[in-house]
């Protein structure tokens, strides 16, 4: 058995190492960016080869944003992290792997592309869902991942909270609203992708709270006829941040490539790739070009409503925080 398998394995392994690149980067990212980074990595590798004559291979790892941060903290050798929210990179920084001022090293809060939270509903919008307060109707089934493990779900939760606080004017009422909303959630997947599969493929639920780009992707994959995107009038500006993991990049000697990789996001080409994959570009010119692809939504930021990620995380998603209280009741 072994004698037969070993040469085979050796052959297969040799075949793979024949393509070794000059540099190899590991980008540890969150769930819905698979297609985005497949596109971006190809473009960057080509651009880098052209400019420096060196080949770069970028390896990807995807998962729930929190789980991915945990893996990096546990020693996953990521040169760069591109996660769903700043708190997860803060958690990595707290262990000394990333410099504390990471978010100031790149412009725009180190978030070269943004997104927001929209609703994906079934064809014809049978439950007539238009705005956040439609989501707490009794009997409606809302699909969202678990805010404890998924970055996207935290944005979902905070978007709902921001809406309610603005509409009803108090934190207590916002808490009641969000509790009612989560009462309507029949399945709580660990990652955004899992929730999309649950809604789209398994046919569970009336509405999916999703990243805008994820909603577009689901529509593309399964045909426009089957699902509709509903953009609520008010939502949150989701800023997925990126950073070099200093400790790893320095040890592996990949800092220069890793920085070039992240900076590529701020070029026209990078911004175009973001727009093409339904992430909102930050470059005004590119944004104008793609204006029609994105719904007009009034966007509030996490700093406006929640006083930043650290506070939001502690108040809402920390041990015994508001989400725990909602779920304990």
């Amino acid at each position: 058995m072994i004698r037969r398998i070993l040469p085979l394995v050796a052959g297969l392994l040799w075949a793979s190492s024949a393509f070794a690149a000059d540099y190899t980067l590991l980008n540890v990212s969150y769930d819905p960016t698979r297609e985005l980074y497949a596109d971006f990595n190809k473009a960057f590798a080509a651009a880098y080869q052209k400019e420096n004559g060196k080949s770069v291979e970028i390896k990807q790892s995807h998962g729930g944003s929190g789980s991915q941060a945990r893996a990096v903290i546990d020693g996953l050798q990521a040169d760069v992290v591109t996660l769903a929210l700043a708190y997860d990179i803060d958690a990595i920084a707290a262990k000394g792997l990333v410099a504390p001022d990471w978010q100031k090293r790149l412009s725009l809060n180190a978030s070269p592309y943004t997104s927001t939270i929209v609703f994906l509903v079934r064809k014809g919008n049978p439950k007539a869902i238009k705005d956040w307060d439609d989501l707490i109707k009794p009997g409606l089934q809302v699909i969202t991942p678990n805010p404890k493990t998924s970055g996207g779900a935290r944005w979902n939760y905070l978007a709902a909270w921001g809406f309610a606080e603005k509409k009803f004017g108090s934190a207590d009422k916002a808490k009641k609203f969000v509790a009612d909303l989560f009462n309507n959630v029949p399945v709580l997947d660990t990652g955004a992708r899992g929730s999309t599969v649950t809604f789209v493929e398994r046919g569970v639920g009336d509405v999916l709270l999703a990243w805008e780009n994820e909603a577009f992707l689901a529509q593309r994959e399964f045909g426009k006829g089957k699902f509709e995107i509903v953009a609520p009038p008010l939502s949150i500006l989701a800023e997925p941040p990126i950073s070099v993991v200093d400790k790893v990049a320095d040890k592996k000697g990949t800092r220069a490539v890793a920085e070039a990789y992240l900076k590529y996001w701020y070029t026209k080409e990078g911004q175009e790739i973001a727009a093409r994959n339904s992430y909102r570009p930050r470059d005004p010119e590119i944004a104008k070009e793609h204006e029609k692809s994105f719904a007009r939504v009034e966007l509030f930021t996490i700093d406006d409503v929640f006083g930043g990620w650290t506070k939001a995380q502690k108040d809402h998603f920390g041990e015994g925080g508001i989400f725990d209280q909602i779920y304990k009741n």
């Binding site: 058995m1 072994i2 398998i5 070993l6 085979l8 394995v9 297969l12 392994l13 793979s16 590991l26 769930d31 698979r34 390896k59 990807q60 790892s61 995807h62 998962g63 893996a71 903290i73 546990d74 020693g75 996953l76 050798q77 262990k95 990652g191 992708r193 899992g194 599969v197 789209v200 493929e201 689901a218 994959e221 399964f222 040890k251």
Partner: protein, 332 residues
């Protein structure tokens, strides 16, 4: 009774085998075994139930197995081929799929190889010698059978993770265990630990030590004795253990998932890739990989059936016609 093995065997298929081997050893049970069909075939058969009851029982058994076992298997192949053979083979030829297959084979080779070596060593120590605490030792070997795969992965995160007991040292010395092949192999070795040892221990015990002692007294060395005397006796049992060990090693999901890091094209095994592709809306690709694993399971079952026959033949001396005459001449 030889039908009961002397040790706990918390692994049903192994147990079934162990009992088969046990039955084959004793001439008593051999005679019993040949009486059985006769009793069943007897015209005034009091050992069966009325026709309708028989029908209901068979119908229940067959429909249960069809719904719970056959259908899931059919679904895998039907989904994998739902877009035709072209899409199916294209999915398997993806570099990511190939790298997952490579990694799975590599990890299986490492873990089966090491478990084979240490399984034989452990079986020798346990089956051929008597010592206090034997039952306890066997229980420890059995433990991974009933430990949740997630826990099997977790323990290695606690040891080798950057925040774990040895993490700082490993990081400082640039040794990567977690999120790399060594971690995946360790977790796989953990979950497949008992297979080889547990399929050999009952077999080697039944065979006793006389043959080996004879070889030693004739001047053979320990290793010679093992390779010339013991190994030929246990080869089918050994293959049986390796087969089951391999099936589990290639299919392990929970433990590997915890320690993998999910680096595309690098630390994703086939079962992990099934999950990843499934989450990427690539259902055909996901089920294509799943179908390879399902085929592995089917091949495992076929080989297992063949091995079980070999084991029976190897253990049961050929039926002696005189036995028949002696047993019940009236039958002939």
């Amino acid at each position: 009774m030889s039908t009961q093995t002397s040790f706990v065997t918390p692994e049903a298929p192994l147990k079934a085998y162990a009992s088969t081997a046990g039955a084959a050893i004793s001439s008593l049970s051999r005679r019993e075994a040949r009486e059985r069909p006769r009793a069943l075939a007897s015209p005034k058969d009091f050992r069966t139930e009325p026709g309708p009851v028989r029908f209901v029982i068979v119908a229940l058994a067959v429909s249960f197995l069809t719904i719970f076992v056959v259908l899931p298997l059919v679904v895998v192949f039907a989904s994998a081929l739902s877009k035709g053979f072209g899409a199916y083979f294209a999915a398997l030829a993806e570099p990511e799929a190939l790298s997952a297959i490579r990694l799975t084979l590599l990890v299986a080779a490492i873990s089966v190889g090491l478990n084979l070596l240490f399984g034989v060593i452990a079986a020798w120590a346990i089956a051929k010698f008597d010592f206090p605490g034997k039952t306890f030792l066997v229980t420890l070997i059995d433990l991974p059978f009933s430990v949740s795969p997630v826990i099997s992965g977790l323990v290695f995160v606690l040891l080798f993770g950057a925040q774990g007991y040895w993490g700082t040292w490993l990081q400082a010395h640039n040794v990567h265990i977690l999120f790399a092949v060594p971690g995946i192999a360790l977790a796989t070795i953990f979950v497949t630990f008992p297979f080889v040892a547990r399929s050999l221990i009952p077999l080697m015990q039944e065979q006793g030590t006389q043959e080996e002692e004879a070889a030693i007294s004739l001047g053979a060395s320990g290793l010679q004795t093992f390779f010339r005397v013991t190994l030929p006796n246990i080869k089918w049992g050994l293959l049986y253990g390796v087969l089951l060990c391999n099936a589990r090693a290639m299919g392990e999901f929970g433990a590997v998932s915890v320690v993998s890091g999910h680096i595309r094209g690098e630390t994703n095994t086939m079962p992990l890739l099934v999950e990843i592709l499934y989450n990427e809306y690539q259902f055909v690709a996901s089920f294509a990989i799943a179908s390879l694993l399902a085929m592995l399971a089917l091949i495992t079952l076929v080989v297992k059936t063949v091995l079980e026959q070999r084991l029976d033949e190897g253990q049961t001396p050929r039926d002696d016609p005189r036995d028949d005459l002696r047993d019940d001449p009236s039958d002939h």
